[in-house]
């Protein structure tokens, strides 16, 4: 190689090397920045997810307290009042005994239902069954739960969210819909869980603004949080139907991601 060639070689190799190093460093910095941003975002989402789960749990607990208060006042309280009246009216001991036995039975049922351990380890199916039994027992609404397919294990945090959504729907049905029937279906398909809750109540017009506030957006947001999809169909005088579809073993659930 002559002098000119050596010079050219040095310039070319330096430029090539310089560009390579600059490219590598830029890619590395860019990658690190994106990685850190993504980690922060994931942490924020995880925190938000945990907060929402806690919120749902607190709401479930509040609802339980409300139900206990209601049952103590309107069910057990009524039975005790009846026993008192029977005693005042000198009714037969058997009659009073019968009323008190009924009262004790209700009390035991209630106690069993609200034991913290029972609430903690309850599956979605058990929790919904508990609600249905309560509705039927207290003659709130005639309710029915149907399970289809083979039950698949779902993350308990996700079950909490689904149960809270259903509870919100039931509460709307009882408070506003004036329905006589409530049907719930838990349909376990191979890779999908479809939850359907349907009442035969007053229904409402989905397009009317004032109705969209009754927990509907809350239901949809909560479903979205666990990568599920919630749709609500309703027409005046034709009842309301809630459908939640959830992909089982969804890779992007927070429980598996975090």
């Amino acid at each position: 190689m002559d002098e000119k060639e050596i010079q050219s070689f040095l310039i070319i190799s330096s430029v090539v090397l310089f560009i390579l190093i600059i490219t590598m460093i830029s890619l590395f910095i860019l990658f690190q920045k994106r990685k850190n941003a993504l980690i922060l975002k994931n942490e924020f989402e995880k925190k938000h997810f945990e907060q929402e789960i806690s919120k749902a749990q607190i709401e479930i607990r509040e609802e339980t307290f409300r139900n206990i208060s209601w049952e103590l006042h309107d069910n057990i309280g009524q039975l005790l009042t009846l026993a008192k009246i029977q005693l005042q009216n000198d009714s037969s001991i058997d009659e009073v005994k019968g009323t008190l036995n009924k009262c004790l039975k209700e009390l035991r049922d209630l106690s069993k239902l609200i034991s913290p351990d029972a609430l903690k380890n309850m599956s979605l199916e058990q929790a919904v069954t508990g609600e249905i039994n309560r509705f039927n027992r207290l003659n709130f609404i005639e309710s029915q739960l149907t399970i289809k397919g083979r039950q698949t294990k779902i993350d308990s945090k996700i079950e909490i969210v689904f149960f809270r959504i259903l509870q919100e729907f039931f509460s709307n049905t009882i408070k506003h819909a004036k329905a006589t029937h409530l049907d719930i279906i838990l349909d376990y398909q191979t890779d999908m869980l479809i939850i359907t809750a349907k009442d035969n109540g007053l229904g409402f017009d989905l397009n009317k603004q004032q109705h969209s506030g009754i927990g509907l957006s809350n239901i949809k947001n909560r479903a979205k949080l666990v990568n599920a999809n919630a749709t609500i169909l309703s027409e005046p005088n034709k009842g309301t139907k809630l459908t939640i579809t959830y992909q089982i073993n969804h890779e992007n659930t927070y429980s598996s991601n975090c």
Binding site: E5, L27, R34
Partner: protein, 214 residues
Amino acid sequence: MSTNPIFLSYLINALELIAAVFALVHYKKYVNSSERYFLLFLWVTFFIDAILGPLSIFLKLDNTWLYYGYTGISFLFYYWWYHTILMERLYKIIIKVLSVIFTVLYALNSLNVELHQYSFIIGASFLLIFAGFHLHQLFNSDYTLKIKHKLSFWITIALVLFNIGMLPFILLSKYFNVWINNLAFTSIFFILNMILYSCYIIGFSWTKKKYNHF
């Protein structure tokens, strides 16, 4: 500096072979993705570079067209691959348009051997744009956290580093008019090839099946 530059070209052939063997050994990990065509591509590269090339020299045939043909096909293969893995519609349209422009310019440049280098420069420039699209797509996805297991990332890094080094190498060699087949210049070409195939080998070794599903 007195070593024969042919020795380095044998080393490049060895790198091509090692990369192709790694691609074969780890094939199961990326069989469900469009990266599976790289197995064939790497073996074709080895076959052309290590067998057909030397054979044409041995038979005293002009191998200009063999390498020019390989350059065109390899760029179009990379373009097609990026077209399949990029999600955004705009990116796909840009790839289609630039592929057509490349094909036309490639055909025009083929008329004059002097212009063959420009085909590489155009092809490599377009490829760098598509690689940028892919990196943008990857960095905006959840793959960022597990990027070392993603084969398309390593292939893209390989292509970026090789082509971004090749561009000034070719342009400056032409500018100084020193395109000479000696060890000093072949060594730059060797280093770029080493980076290219090392990234391929790392990619095939580190990739995991669950990150290569489309």
